[in-house]
């Protein structure tokens, strides 16, 4: 299947731009730690779309973007696990996950 004649690369990059900035807005407007983590996952996904699209369109003879996307996914999974451990710990100490109420380093 030749995708290049059907869908220009610009469509893919515009799509990933939209998703990235939607995720950024989510980080900026939400106060809940879990929602902010979800927005960060959205941003990482947008980056992955870009890597894969550039690999497919510009360097189809190599697999650089493929492995970059794989590594980003592994880091995203590790990051989500650490973040959720922190969130659960914060909830135990403060009984809330809102960033406004968590304002002490030492308790």
């Amino acid at each position: 299947m030749n995708l290049q004649s059907e869908i220009p690369l610009e469509y893919m990059t515009i799509l990933s731009t939209l998703v990235f900035f939607i995720g950024l807005t989510g980080v900026l407007i939400r106060k809940n730690l879990i929602t902010m983590l979800m927005s960060i996952e959205l941003m990482l996904n947008a980056v992955n779309i870009n890597f894969v699209a550039f690999n497919h369109y510009l360097y189809p003879n190599r697999l650089e973007g493929h492995f970059f996307a794989l590594i980003v996914m592994a880091i995203a999974a590790a990051e989500a696990a650490i973040a959720i451990a922190l969130i659960i710990n914060i909830y135990r100490k403060f009984s809330t996950v809102s960033v406004d109420d968590v304002d002490e380093l030492k308790y």
């Binding site: 299947m1 939607i22 950024l24 929602t35 189809p60 989500a80 696990a81």
Partner: protein, 167 residues
């Protein structure tokens, strides 16, 4: 409109609509489910571009792993029926301005640049190629990143247990 084009636009519309819904919805569990839909649509996009292995990893790792972990932590930390507070206007306005400004800036820059599609023949992506390159030490080998990632995952595992344990 041909087949791939229709599929692309359906997937793109799903990705954009569900990601907007997942950040504006005030019920957090629904937001997590919308995030799941985004992940599945992105996996479809990878499949369209002939990266079957990556699409599978996306489904297993994101849809099966990260979203389940997020739902798990939502259930541990908040009541199901509780609604998130409305974003304050003093946060909403800068956030939306940043998003619109960033999208316009990036889109203008992107559309001014002309990408030259490659004419070289595409490599066949099967498990053998992926495995050989992932553990290869020659020119296109990724043995070092692979080992670094495995150490990172070990560190994340130990760190998560250390952080989340009860003292």
């Amino acid at each position: 409109m041909t087949g791939p084009k229709i599929i692309f636009f359906v997937l793109a519309a799903a990705i954009v609509v569900f990601s907007i819904l997942s950040i504006v919805n005030r019920k957090i569990l629904r937001a997590a489910i919308y995030l799941l839909f985004v992940m599945v649509a992105v996996a479809g996009l990878f499949y369209m571009m002939n990266f079957q292995f990556l699409a599978g990893v996306q489904l297993i790792l994101y849809a099966g792993g990260v979203v389940v972990l997020i739902i798990f932590s939502i259930l541990l930390t908040s009541q199901i029926n509780s609604k998130l507070e409305k974003p304050r206007t003093s946060h909403l306005i800068p956030g939306v301005i940043t998003a619109v400004g960033g999208i316009v800036l990036s889109a203008v820059t992107l559309l001014q640049f002309t990408f030259k599609p490659s004419q070289s023949a595409s490599v066949e992506i099967n498990m053998q190629t992926i495995g050989l390159q992932l553990l290869g030490t020659s020119e296109h080998g990724y043995a070092l990143p692979f080992e670094v990632i495995s150490i990172l995952l070990l560190a994340a595992l130990v760190g998560t247990i250390f952080i989340a344990r009860k003292t």
